[in-house]
């Protein structure tokens, strides 16, 4: 048995070249016979019943032979060995440690804005967007409902291929749907700003307030023709861009004026577990100031 073999082997104490014997399981053909018998047993089903019978007989022989190998104890083969020490070494002696500087954690901001800041920013931006949109409606189509219906058109039942006059008229369903879409989208984008602004390298308001809306408008401009061709015909892209930029700047400014809080990942484990230790906070604030 393998276990016995290792027991026999484990307690030699001599060193240097010496002779020993190792027990290994003896080779045997019985598993082969058993496997062949089983295969023939199955093959008989697709060929001839006699092949199954032959397979059964072979299996019987195989099982008996196998049992005689392991009972009452397993058959061994003794292999004489001269134990020699082999040197294990390497030509690559030099070991270099990769030092990861603390700043590598800078990708995860140490401080960020609270969630409320994002919501506030989104709401402020959403309100700031309204005047230019209404202004556009008044100037271009002489109706403040025009932009509202463009956004909320989906809410007006059975509205297919509306005329310009249709869009300029007041529809209360349009107003409700437009308001929901407007405020939900704005709050979501505001939250995104709150999460992203601390991570933007420099001039967050410039990037978040102007560059991002311009890119976003460009993306919409190039895809709206595919996504919703009808809506695309009615959008004045210049005005659209203006309102987006206003949203971006206002939301960005509002978010940036909020007080920052530490990200929980940078807090010590004890505090993340929710154990209140005011002294600990103080201590770490000081450490941060020192850095």
């Amino acid at each position: 048995m393998g276990d016995n073999a290792r027991n026999n082997m484990s307690d030699h104490e001599e060193r240097g070249a010496h002779t020993e014997t190792i027990h290994l399981p003896a080779p045997t053909a019985w598993p082969l016979v058993l496997a062949f018998g089983f295969t023939l047993l199955c093959a008989g089903l697709v060929t001839n019943g006699f092949i199954s019978v032959l397979g059964g007989v072979l299996m019987l022989f195989g099982v008996v032979g196998w049992f005689r190998q392991v009972l009452p104890h397993e058959a061994h083969e003794d292999i004489p060995v001269v134990v020699e020490t082999i040197a294990i070494q390497t030509t690559r002696r030099q070991v270099e440690k990769i030092v990861v500087p603390e700043e590598d954690r800078a990708h995860l901001p140490v401080e960020t804005y609270p969630i409320v800041a994002g919501i506030k920013g989104g709401l402020a931006g959403s309100i700031a967007m309204i005047p230019p949109a209404l202004l556009y409606g008044l100037i271009a189509q002489h109706s403040i409902w025009y932009p509202v219906n463009l956004l909320g058109g989906a809410g007006v039942a059975n509205w297919r291929n509306p005329s310009t006059a249709d869009i300029a008229a007041f529809h209360w369903q349009g107003l409700i749907v437009a308001s929901i879409i407007h405020f939900v989208t704005c709050v979501l984008v505001g939250l995104l700003y709150g999460a992203m602004l601390p991570m933007l390298p420099r001039r967050p308001v410039l990037l978040g307030g102007i560059v991002a809306p311009v890119l976003w408008t460009g993306l919409l401009h190039s895809t709206m023709g595919v996504v919703n061709p009808v809506l695309d015909e009615h959008i004045a892209w210049g005005w659209f861009l203006v309102s987006q930029v206003i949203f971006g700047v206002v939301a960005g400014l509002v978010v940036a004026r909020q007080e920052r809080i530490r990200t929980s990942q940078s807090l010590p484990f004890v505090m993340r577990m929710g154990i209140e230790t005011p002294g600990l906070i103080h201590e770490h604030k000081e450490e941060d100031d020192g850095q």
Partner: protein, 563 residues
């Protein structure tokens, strides 16, 4: 003396070479009756490589047939047999034997054991697999199909009911399929039991579970997965045979049976099976990448946890093969989400491999080249997998060439690439000679190009709506040029594999002598001779860390100080 405490102090003997004196008949006899895990591992490997060539030849015929529109080189019936045999061969006679080839040869060496836990069961499992394979291929001669002549199974490798019922598949070709897989299935079960018992019960002193090499760990999880994966297939095959021979009604729609039950049973086996096949690729990558990056594996516990996680999650995703069958929305949602969940542990693995390479001193020997390609290709395969896991997308593309492209990206781009990496990596250990690096590079680049020409193009064929299983197509569908490109890529891969085969044989006789530790690696198998003596280690090794050979090579800075 310091050597009193040296962990591994002797493992080589100077026994007289016995095999050299024997005749070839005696040598053959010694291989046939062997219970030695190394010989059995090599036999599994030879079986797998042989059938890889056979299955490859079958698919080359398929590709030649599909290269141009309106081709009638081979008949539709033969085409059906070819893709059935290609799938069955590659999964059951290549992929599964490969699992056991690696596990058999490497695991006892890596955990410092003399043999597997059940050496005779090991031989039994191998011979079941080999004879099962013979039985399957005997159907080409002995199977009586619709046309009364030699006939291989032609019901695809998942053999959906009720196509497999007596009424629709007369003759016994389908029985050959079911019986052969039943036989190999028992072999697989025996092999899996053996691997698990070996890893749990045969570890050398100090080799705790959390010090086991990742290779061993992943194949342990793989075997656990096999235990609960291959057995449902066996059960389903028994039901199929009961239907066909005793007139039972499991999948008989005339008597109220339901064909969909077979689909569920088959994919309960079939999907985890894919993970069973890919685990050896993960295992090899987890050995090759650290050694050729000269760094310890990044995030060992996370890698273990991710491996176990993949094993568990893979058991709950099977019905994503059945979105087009029509399920409830809840069923669709569950299988979409569980399938996507697989992406998380797999992602952890990819990130950890990349993090292992990061900052390392990379050596792009052939095994590392294959591993690097594997990382990219496995990522791409995973991403198309996530695409296909979205039910509506799946409704659109199920049964198209996009699906073929996706799973061949896994099976070839990940598994076959890593099998090549593993062969280049451990060939010196098994034979004592290095494989030729120059031919290896030719093999790698040709295979890489052929792979991408074939399978990248297949994605587009899928988008263009080309269905699977068609044996030819009219010229006006816009599929002609792409199909030609796919076929040419297939031929390039064929050439690359021939180069590999030549390299394998010529290196066996003329390769550079390797020495015990050609790659300067850290796991126990490199501490013994190449090829290892029949008893592996003359004295039982004792380990103290995950990289026992590192500890010996760098006594001033051993790993156990950090673990």
């Amino acid at each position: 003396m310091a050597d009193q405490t040296l962990p591994i102090h002797g493992s080589l003997d100077l026994t007289p070479p016995r095999e050299g004196e024997s005749t070839w008949l005696e040598t053959l006899h010694s291989w046939v009756i062997t219970v030695d895990h190394k010989k059995l591992g090599l036999m599994y490997m030879m079986l797998a490589i042989f059938f890889l060539l056979v299955g490859g030849a079958e698919v080359l015929l398929i590709r030649i047939q599909l290269a141009v529109p309106n081709n009638h080189l081979i008949s539709p019936q033969v085409f059906n047999r070819l893709f059935t045999m290609h799938g069955t061969t590659m999964v059951f006679l290549v992929g599964m034997p490969l699992v056991f080839a690696w596990a058999n040869y490497i695991i006892p060496l890596q955990i410092g054991a003399r043999d597997m836990a059940f050496p005779r069961l090991n031989a039994f499992s191998f011979w079941l697999t080999a004879f099962g394979a013979l039985l399957l291929y005997f159907s080409f001669l002995g199977g009586a199909g619709l046309y009364g002549m030699g006939n291989a199974p032609d019901v695809t490798w998942w053999a959906y009911a009720p196509l497999t019922a007596r009424a629709f598949s007369p003759g016994n070709a389908t029985d050959y399929w079911a019986l052969a897989l039943l036989v190999t299935g028992f072999g697989t079960l025996g092999g899996a039991i053996n691997i698990i018992a070996t890893t749990f019960s045969m570890r050398c002193k100090g080799m705790t579970l959390m010090r086991m090499p990742l290779f061993t760990w992943l194949l342990l999880v793989d075997s656990g997965l096999l235990l609960v994966t291959i057995t449902p297939l066996t059960a389903a095959q028994v039901m199929l045979l009961l239907d066909r021979y005793l007139g039972a009604h499991f999948f008989d729609t005339q008597a109220g049976g339901q064909a969909i039950l077979w689909m569920h049973f088959f994919w309960i086996f079939g999907h985890p099976e894919v993970y069973v096949l890919v685990f050896p690729a993960f295992a090899i990558a987890s050995e090759v990448i650290p050694v050729f990056s000269r760094k310890a594996i990044f995030g060992y516990p996370a890698m273990v946890a991710a491996g176990v996680g993949i094993g568990f999650v893979s058991l709950g995703v099977w019905a994503h093969h059945m979105f087009t069958v029509g399920m409830t929305s809840a069923g669709n949602a569950f299988f979409v989400l569980s399938t996507m969940l697989v992406g998380i542990p797999t992602g952890i693995k990819i990130f950890n491999w990349v993090a292992t390479m990061w900052g390392g001193k990379l050596r792009f020997a052939t095994p590392m080249l294959f591993s690097t390609a594997f990382l990219f290709q496995f990522l791409a395969a995973g991403l198309t997998g996530i695409m296909l896991s979205v039910a509506p997308w799946n409704w659109q593309l199920h049964g198209s060439y996009f699906v073929i492209a996706h799973f061949h990206y896994v099976l070839v781009g990940a598994i076959v690439f890593m099998v090549f990496a593993g062969i280049y990596y451990w060939f010196p250990k098994a034979t004592g000679r290095m494989m030729d690096e120059k031919l290896g590079k030719w093999h790698f680049w040709l295979f890489l190009i052929g792979f991408h020409v074939t399978f990248d193009t297949m994605h587009f064929l899928g988008f263009e709506g080309m269905p699977r299983w068609i044996y030819t197509y009219p010229a006006d569908r816009g599929w002609d040029h792409l199909n030609l490109v796919v076929s040419i890529g297939g031929l390039i891969q064929g050439v690359a594999v021939l180069i590999f085969a030549y390299n394998l044989v010529s290196s066996l006789f003329k390769g550079k002598i390797a020495g015990n530790d050609p790659w300067d690696a850290w796991t126990l198998e490199w501490s013994t001779a190449s090829p290892p003596p029949v008893y592996n280690f003359a004295t039982d090794p004792v380990v103290h860390s995950r990289r026992p050979l590192w500890d010996i090579k760098h006594p001033e800075d051993p790993d156990w100080k950090y673990e």
